[in-house]
């Protein structure tokens, strides 16, 4: 049992401490750019003057150390390492005239810009958080008096509502389902017959559904047939110049209204 837990080559205490410190450190970096910035700070020179080559070497050494200690580095640290290795080679080797692409200097300059920009953002973030803040340094009114909404309700109805309401009452006592020979089929002719006498009253936009035979909306097959017939009839009426049709958006109710005489 004991063998299982025994390290074949025990690490020295100092190695362990160093390894652990590094683990903690890696965890506290917010990505490779942050690690680079921290390393750059140890050079104690202005970011604009510092050597990107030296920085790249520092970073690569750090990654190498982590590898030796078998620390797992997130993929983006390794991506940055390979990019820095590439940068290093570009900076060290004479430019290959057959190869396109940015020069080592361009790449280094951009990295310097990125670091400087990140550093600047860190600074202003700290300045921002150091400002007087609402709820901490200054305060809003403690008892805001909300604007009271005085709501007035205005009721409305259309002529079609009125007529349907009346029809409903007149037919209530002796209601007989609308029976036709082809009982589930509405035709454009019938829809036209139905709509013509009513259309004169549609001064306002009214839903096409209102012109379907009463009760037909309750039955799927009848509803489809009536909707198609009523729609076809409304197209016919529009063609005749008697009505206008609109649909405010996709799948919104289709609405019609009569055309005023002067437009006819």
């Amino acid at each position: 049992m004991d063998e299982l837990f025994e390290d074949p080559q025990p690490m020295s205490v100092s190695d362990r401490v160093a390894a652990e410190a590094l683990i903690v450190d890696v965890g506290s970096f917010e990505g490779p750019l942050d690690l680079l910035l921290t390393l750059a700070r140890t050079q104690k020179v202005d970011l604009r003057q510092m050597s990107m080559l030296a920085l790249a070497e520092q970073y690569l050494a750090f990654v190498e150390k982590a590898r030796q200690l078998r620390l797992e580095l997130a993929a983006d640290y390794l991506v940055m390492a390979s990019w820095l290795a590439f940068l290093k080679s570009r900076l060290l080797l004479p430019p290959d005239p057959t190869e396109d692409g940015p020069s080592g200097e361009d790449l280094a300059a951009h990295l310097a810009f990125q670091l400087e920009r990140l550093a600047a953002m860190r600074d202003v973030a700290a300045q921002l958080m150091g400002r007087d803040q609402k709820g901490r340094n200054f305060f809003a009114r403690g008892v805001p008096e909300d604007v009271e909404r005085v709501r007035t309700v205005r009721y409305t109805a259309t002529l079609l509502d009125l007529m349907q309401g009346y029809a409903r009452i007149r037919t209530k006592d002796d209601f007989r389902p609308f029976v036709l020979d082809r009982e589930h089929v509405d035709t454009m002719e019938r829809a036209l017959e139905r709509m013509r006498p009513l259309i004169g009253y549609a001064a306002d936009w009214t839903d096409l559904v209102m012109y379907m035979p009463d009760g037909w909306e309750l039955d799927g097959m009848r509803r489809r047939s009536a909707a198609a017939a009523t729609f076809a009839a409304s197209l016919e009426l529009a063609k005749e110049g008697r009505i206008e049709i609109r649909q405010t958006e996709l799948f919104a109710p289709i609405q019609i209204r009569r055309k005023t005489r002067k437009d006819v």
Binding site: V143, R149, T152, A157, G165, Y166, A167, T171
Partner: protein, 215 residues
């Protein structure tokens, strides 16, 4: 705390100037969610402050302004000047569809006017609530007509000019008749034969004929 500390504290917290105290009280009262008592002000202000004085000055300062410093029981708070309360209201108009009962009642009045409440109830087959009629009267769509010359002399209801304007009608006679309703599929049954009880005397000849014609 040692004596030294106490002494140090006392000198650190020399009472601020009256003007400073006034600013402090003003800020505390502004930010507080509840009225603040003198005692609490004393607790919160630096040592040696006299909040009562600051309150007195502030009260004068805010006299006639848009907000006032008011006393609520033993505590103080800023409140909107009462004459400006109306600024804290916002009017909105909501348009709502008339209820089915109201539409039916309105339709009956329109088609059968002048009509009594009892007649409306008979036609609808259910009682008509006072509220429904009131609502329609309030909307200025129906109004009281002549009393009926029948026992009890019941009041009648008729539609108003406002009603005609709203529905774009020149007169109630322009309402489509039964025949048109039927042709439109809105009325898809036959009236039972022999039903001649409709109190429609007022309606014009043509329309009346329409209404009771079987096809």
């Amino acid at each position: 705390m040692s004596d030294d500390d106490l002494e140090h504290e006392a000198s650190l917290f020399d009472a601020p100037t009256p003007g400073e105290q006034e600013r402090m009280v003003e800020a505390i009262l502004f930010a507080s969610a509840e009225p603040v008592s003198l005692r609490e002000l004393e607790d919160r202000l630096p040592h040696g402050c006299e909040p009562a004085k600051a309150i007195a000055t502030l009260t004068r300062r805010y006299e006639g302004r848009g907000v006032r410093l008011v006393r609520i029981a033993e505590a103080w708070a800023f409140r909107t000047a009462p004459d400006l309360g109306y600024l804290m209201q916002k009017e909105t108009v909501e348009v709502r569809k008339l209820s089915r009962a109201a539409i039916e009642t309105l339709a009956i009045v329109a088609y059968h006017q002048p009509v009594t409440r009892a007649e409306i109830e008979e036609i609808r087959g259910v009682s008509v609530s006072r509220g429904t009629l009131d609502q329609l009267i309030e909307m200025d769509w129906i109004k009281l007509g002549r009393r009926k010359m029948t026992p009890g002399r019941p009041v009648t209801f008729i539609v108003t000019q406002e009603f005609l304007d709203h529905f774009g009608l020149e007169s109630a006679r322009d309402l489509p008749g039964i025949k048109e309703l039927r042709a439109a599929g809105l009325l898809d049954n036959r009236l039972p034969p022999g039903r001649t009880d409709a109190p429609d005397e007022e309606r014009g000849g043509d329309e009346q004929a329409d209404m009771f014609e079987d096809d």
